[in-house]
Amino acid sequence: MNFSEVFKLSSLLCKFSPDGKYLASCVQYRLVVRDANTLQIRQLYTCLDQIQHIEWSADSLFILCALYKRGLVQVWSLEQPEWHCKIDEGSAGLVASCWSPDGRHILNTTEFHLRITVWSLCTKSVSYIKYPKACQQGVTFTRDGRYLALAERRDCKDYVSILVCSDWQLLRHFDTDTQDLAGIEWAPNGCVLAAWDSCLEYKILLYSLDGRLLSTFCAYEWSLGIKSVAWSPSSQFLAVGSYDGKVRILNHVTWKMITEFGHPATINNPKIVVYKEAEKSPPLVLGRLAFPPPRAAAGPLSSTESKYEVASVPVSLQTLKPAADRANPRIGVGALAFSPDSCFLATRSDSVPTAVWIWDIQKLRLLAVLEQLSAVRCFQWDPRQARLAICTGGSKVYLWSPAGCVSVQVPGEGDFQVLSLCWHLSGDSLALLSKDHFCLCFLETEQGVGTAFGQRADHT
């Protein structure tokens, strides 16, 4: 496992291009595009103000930089550095901007969700979509980029519009039986749309592409409902995490619940492997105690090393007591992610913020629990294999695979606090983002996960 040098970064804006060749990162008002392998700078663009959002077009030819404060979007071409495009939303303001899947249209949401403007880079045409709903996830494209589903709110009712992306024509428009639609999400096969209600009511609706209601699911009433939703990459399962601390898995044939995964604070089953991160105090070498300590050794000594220990059951996890009188209580399943092969599901229960739970979907049972020393910030699966990267805001990055797990110290001067991470699409490298720096972590190319992990364990 190798680490690149550390580069500057602002507002955690660092993204690999969809083809995996480039890496775009932002430093204040500058956009830097590097080669993903050599990390040499390929292009450098200067925007008008601090960049707040970047997005690659699907064909990796353009990059969109949104400057929300100014209501501006600037688009840059990788092939023609001199080409430029600037979209000004004027006094309407701008709160969100994204590419359409064809990479030739930009969807800008104005302030107060007055409308969505669709700007074309090919023609002068501008389209408007009225009544977009201000919600968690109101715009979603199918994987193949053909259709756009859009949550709408008219006359105090929720609607979903399905549009054809090629000419922005309305294909279907239907109302959803929800109090307050919170989000919509296409299944990866693009044939089923999941729509769920706000947290006040547990309700998830499944619609076919042609607008037919396939099924509704409601696990309970009178309590806070859905917190997170994730489709399995095979479109076979829909995992629904809710405020009662459970994940419910629906199947794609009957849309009924297959199983229910609870997140208990104590683990008694000896079959479940509990990895506990433990601080490792450096061994007391007499030479190290020389007075005064050599200056070079002082740096790494400050950050303690850590390693994983397999805890013996029963294990009780650290739980947070939620404040009942506050909004958005820290309870329930807040994060869900399926592994690319749909075999594993990683979850985080917000009342046990230091733990990541990994479930075996083939056997429908809990496989492993990783208990970190600090709260888990973010986790992401390797896009190629069952390998999970986790960061906790410390100077370490953690990797789990069915073979085991390791904690890796990010080398470098000072503390590199990993706040976020993203995988390269080949799964060979991993970008680690801190508050104002980022670095790349190169993993060994696949030669069997087990041996690779063995080596990695040696490195740490």
């Binding site: 001199e82 430029h84 000004d88 074309s120 880079l121 045409s125 501008v126 024509q169 007075f291």
Partner: protein
């Protein structure tokens, strides 16, 4: 009880009185002595000198008493004591026989009476004890009754309390239910109110939004614009098409195509799954048939009514199977047949397994003896084998022992005893050696000490010599100077000052060597340095501490590089000791350094010594 006693007591006493009277009467005749005594005690009136008879019958009144007795007896139905009177005038004669008869009869009567009395007494006693027993029983029962009554009351009380509690709980439950209902209704009302409010707010919000929309969008905001260098081509290279009804239809078509594809894909998957499941089923069936077929004969022989028919079904099914496999259709009839046949076979298998189970259990029950016999044979064989093995092992052990003995006899008994003692001796030897080592070390220490003192003396001598030399040299210089320019006198002064300072430095250097020695110890033996660093916090004065620290920091690398103590020493002692004498002066130190370098144990002890002051 008490009442009873008071009632009975007098009776009893009276009875005893009667008894005593009776006895007095009965024992009147046989023994006069006794009777006299009794009478004396019982009848105090007859305290005369005369006997009892004289009291009743005396010489004078024999006639009267006889007649009295006769009268008495006749009234009691006895025959008269007198003989049948022959003549009226004649005095009636006393008939002795009659008297005797009468007496005899009286005695018999008396005995009878006594017997009866005894009987009555025993009966009375019996009755009395019965009475007592009954009274006890009665008391006990009474007590029991009392306790049970109390218990009953307690139970009733408890029952009442429980009922009370139950009622309370019911009430509470009811209250809770009411509360829940109330809360639910409150929630519901709140929800409706919230929804209502939300709707209202949203309407307002929408109005505002609309307004804002009009204001912002319809003003023909010049700012809302896109600047682009040149338009780029579409990703697919085609030109954009107009929106027409056609495109709409095409979109619909495409959508349905996608949906259809998806459904087809899913159907295919399901078909595949089905086919696989069917395969599994058929395989199962085949295996079942093969499993059951060897038994075909037996049930037929037994002519079991039910299984026989089913077995024939199996044969039919077996025939069907080949056809089915060629069909591979999900036709309903085929499916039914398949499932039915499987079910049938499953039933057969189940019954068969059950039968086997029964048989096994029966065999277990019945044929236990047979098995036992077989097992016993096995046991015997096994034990024989084991015994053989044991024999072999024993022989082995014996030979080993013999060999050992041979070995032991080979050497003398003395040696064996010596061998036994050898450990102790060895230890003694070791201790002695250690002791001598200690002594040697002590001697060494002593020697070193002496050398130290010698060195100190030598140092003093050398110093004196140096002083003298310096004095002579100064003198010479002075003499030279006086011959030269007067300007140089300042120089001399300066130099002298310098020398003086160096002189002053000298003692400090001499006072320090002990601390310096360890660093002077070349080739930086790790033990030594570590000891030093460890001992540092315990060092007495901060100034010393600082000095040593600076020494460490400055010379740690150098001392490691230097190989010989002579080379390291000058570096150590001072930066400005360029003149030779300095090095000479410090030679003893270096020697000591050498010492410490040579024997690490010595250095350690030295360093530790340093800690002490």
């Amino acid at each position: 009880m008490g009442d009873w006693m008071t009632v009975t007591d007098p009776g009893l006493s009276s009875e005893s009185k009667y008894i005593s009277q009776y006895t007095s009467e009965t024992k009147m005749s046989p023994s006069s002595l006794y009777s006299q005594q009794v009478l004396c005690s019982s009848i105090p009136l007859s305290k005369n000198v005369h006997s009892f008879f004289s009291a009743f019958c005396t010489e004078e009144n024999i006639e009267q008493s006889i007649s009295y007795l006769d009268q008495e007896l006749t009234t009691f139905g006895f025959p008269s004591l007198y003989e049948e009177s022959k003549g009226k005038e004649t005095k009636r004669e006393l008939n002795i026989v009659a008297v005797l008869n009468c007496m005899n009869e009286l005695l018999v009567l008396q005995r009878k009476n006594l017997l009866a009395q005894e009987n009555v007494e025993t009966q009375n006693l019996k009755l009395g004890s019965d009475m007592d027993h009954l009274q006890n029983c009665y008391a006990k029962l009474k007590e029991q009754l009392e306790t049970s009554r109390r218990e009953m009351i307690g139970l009733q009380e408890r029952d009442r309390q429980l009922q009370c509690k139950n009622r309370n709980l019911h009430q509470l439950l009811k209250n809770e239910k009411d509360e829940v209902q109330k809360l639910q209704s409150i929630i519901a009302s709140r929800a409706t109110q919230y929804n209502h409010d939300m709707k209202r707010k949203e309407r307002e919000y929408n109005k505002l939004k609309e307004r804002l929309h009009q204001l912002v969008m319809n003003k023909k905001d010049k700012k809302i614009a896109m600047e682009v260098l040149n338009y780029v081509g579409r990703a697919d290279g085609k030109r954009g098409s107009w929106r027409t009804g056609k495109t709409e239809a095409r979109n619909e078509d495409e959508m349905y195509k996608i949906l259809l594809n998806d459904y087809e894909y899913r159907q295919k998957q399901i078909l595949m799954e089905n086919a696989e499941l069917k395969k599994v089923l058929q395989q199962m069936k085949k295996e079942m048939i093969s499993l059951l077929s060897p038994q075909k004969q037996k049930p037929r022989e037994r002519a079991d009514d039910s299984t026989g028919t089913v077995i024939s079904d199996i044969e039919e099914d077996a025939g069907e199977l080949s056809r089915e496999s060629t069909w591979d259709l999900s036709c309903e009839t085929v499916r039914e047949q398949l499932t039915n046949s499987i079910r049938k076979q499953w039933r057969i298998l189940k019954s068969h397994v059950e039968k086997l189970d029964n048989q096994v259990s029966k065999v277990h029950l019945e044929g236990f003896n047979d098995e036992d016999v077989i097992s016993r044979q096995d046991h015997e064989q096994e034990t024989e084998k084991l015994e053989l093995e044991i024999q072999q092992c024993k022989e082995m052990i014996k030979t080993q022992q013999q060999l050992l003995q041979q070995l032991a006899t080979a050497c003398d008994d003395d040696t064996t005893s010596l061998l036994r003692d050898c450990y102790l001796l060895e230890e003694k030897e070791r201790l002695k050696e250690e002791w001598s080592l200690f002594k040697e070390q002590k001697k060494n220490f002593e020697k070193e000490r002496r050398s130290f003192t010698e060195a100190a003396i030598r140092l003093g001598l050398e110093r004196k010599a140096f002083e003298e030399e310096r004095a002579s040299w100064l003198k010479q210089q002075f003499l030279n100077m006086t011959t030269f320019d007067h300007q140089n006198s300042e120089n001399v002064k300066l130099f002298s000052a310098f020398s003086g300072s160096s002189d002053r430095d000298n003692p400090t250097v001499h006072s320090r060597p002990r601390q310096k020695k360890p660093h002077g110890a070349p080739s930086g033996s790790p033990v030594c340095t570590s000891k030093l660093t460890k001992s540092l916090p315990a060092s007495p004065s901060t100034s010393d501490f600082c000095q040593t620290r600076s020494c460490v920091s400055e010379h740690s690398s150098v001392s490691v590089l230097n190989t010989t103590p002579e080379e390291s020493k000058p570096n150590q002692v001072g930066r400005e000791c360029t003149n030779q004498k300095w090095s000479v002066a410090s030679r003893p130190d270096s020697q000591e350094g050498c010492y410490s370098g040579c024997s690490s144990t010595y250095a350690n002890s030295h360093v530790e010594k340093d800690d002490l002051p």
